[in-house]
């Protein structure tokens, strides 16, 4: 499990060969779905570009978005993040880890019946603000929470 421990560092350290891999044609947009995979967004290296790719460049901060996540994550490879949006007409929620080399981690499009709530787990390379970007009735809103990352274990 030495290698297991090393892989932990790898995971939290550098898991972002995606741009290169994308160029190498390893990413195929999932055409089966209505929304095409946001290649530009997932490959942008800066928070601003990621927000732009979502159309959320001029989003306003909202108290009606609640991010549930640990203040300190024991394991950067598995950071639980839940986002609840009480904004009426919430149709999309994105999770962005500001200091990750590729900040945009996930986008959730909510259709009929889906509530303004999603929960998942992401990899974080370092302590950073985690942004929730919510699209409601075509307008964009954000909230953020800092998550401190420590590498676990004695090794």
């Amino acid at each position: 499990m030495n290698s297991a421990r090393r892989s932990l560092f790898k995971l939290t350290g550098g898991f972002f060969a995606i741009a290169a891999a994308g160029a190498a044609g390893m990413l195929r947009p999932v055409r089966a779905w209505t929304a095409p995979w946001n290649k530009a967004g997932f490959e942008s290296k800066a928070l601003g570009d990621a927000l732009k790719s979502l159309g959320a460049a001029s989003a306003t901060e909202s108290r009606d978005i609640v991010i549930t996540a640990p203040d300190i994550a024991e394991n950067g490879a598995v950071v639980p993040i839940a986002v609840t949006s009480r904004i009426p007409g919430t149709q999309q929620i994105s999770i962005v880890a500001e200091k990750n080399p590729f900040p945009l981690a996930a986008t959730f499009d909510i259709a009929g019946g889906g509530e303004g709530y999603v929960s998942t787990r992401i990899k974080m390379s370092q302590t950073s603000d985690v942004w929730a970007v919510v699209k409601a009735d075509g307008k964009y809103f954000t909230a953020r929470k800092e998550v401190k990352i420590t590498v676990g274990g004695c090794g």
Binding site: S3, A4, N75, P80, R121
Partner: protein
Amino acid sequence: MPVARSGNVVLAVVCVATWGTAPAQSDDPLAVGRKMLAEDNPGELWIEQGKTLFHQKRGPKNASLEQCNFGLGPGKLDGATAQLPRYFPDTDRVQDLESRLVTCMVQLQGFNRDDIVKRAISPAGSNGSDVEALALYITSRSNGMKMNVSLSHQKEYDMYKAGEYLFYRRSGQTDFACVQCHGEANKRIRLQDLVHMTDKKGMQEVVSTWPAYRGGHFVVRTMQWRLYDCFWQMRLPELKYASDASIALITYLHYQGNGVVIKVPGFKR
């Protein structure tokens, strides 16, 4: 013995002077994450696999494990883990779940013991080993039941006492035994909580949650792995899988944990 006495005074001063700056144990900033991760435990994905492996005809003898006797009779799995380790007349050994599993895979299915033992602890990045999945499935059949290890056979008494002896036996370049890290409440290695194993509640917390999903490894790990990994961290030689030393420690742990309700898979950072 003036030197040591004055030394102890110095220690007292150090503690008084500095405990205040130690991070508070209350309102644990890690708690939220731990709860969220434990609520939806990927370890559950391995229970079905273990069940399939248990009933599948496998190995050179093309046999299932349905005739394997974990102490309650052939194929009786409900509550089996809760009463292990125990003495088995056929092998004339005290065995824990994993060593018994190996015995059955060798005797019933004809697998080679060395091969099983070599693969028992799965490598990084893999989807886990057969033994890890089987141990989880079989232990899950004790979920909701109380740990109830009994000492009746002489070899069970011997194993318990040997386990206790090993728990306190210091050696190696860190001068560690188990108790150096697990002898007090609210202690941590870096941010990782250390279970308080000289306390019944703490001991129960351990023995009721293995096999567990190990977040950093992305697979299910077992109690045999937990012990192996402790010796690795102590800079000591490698603990042989399913060896008497490992079974002695597990006998000591489980007997102390008696009465706790088993709930697996656990989730460990």
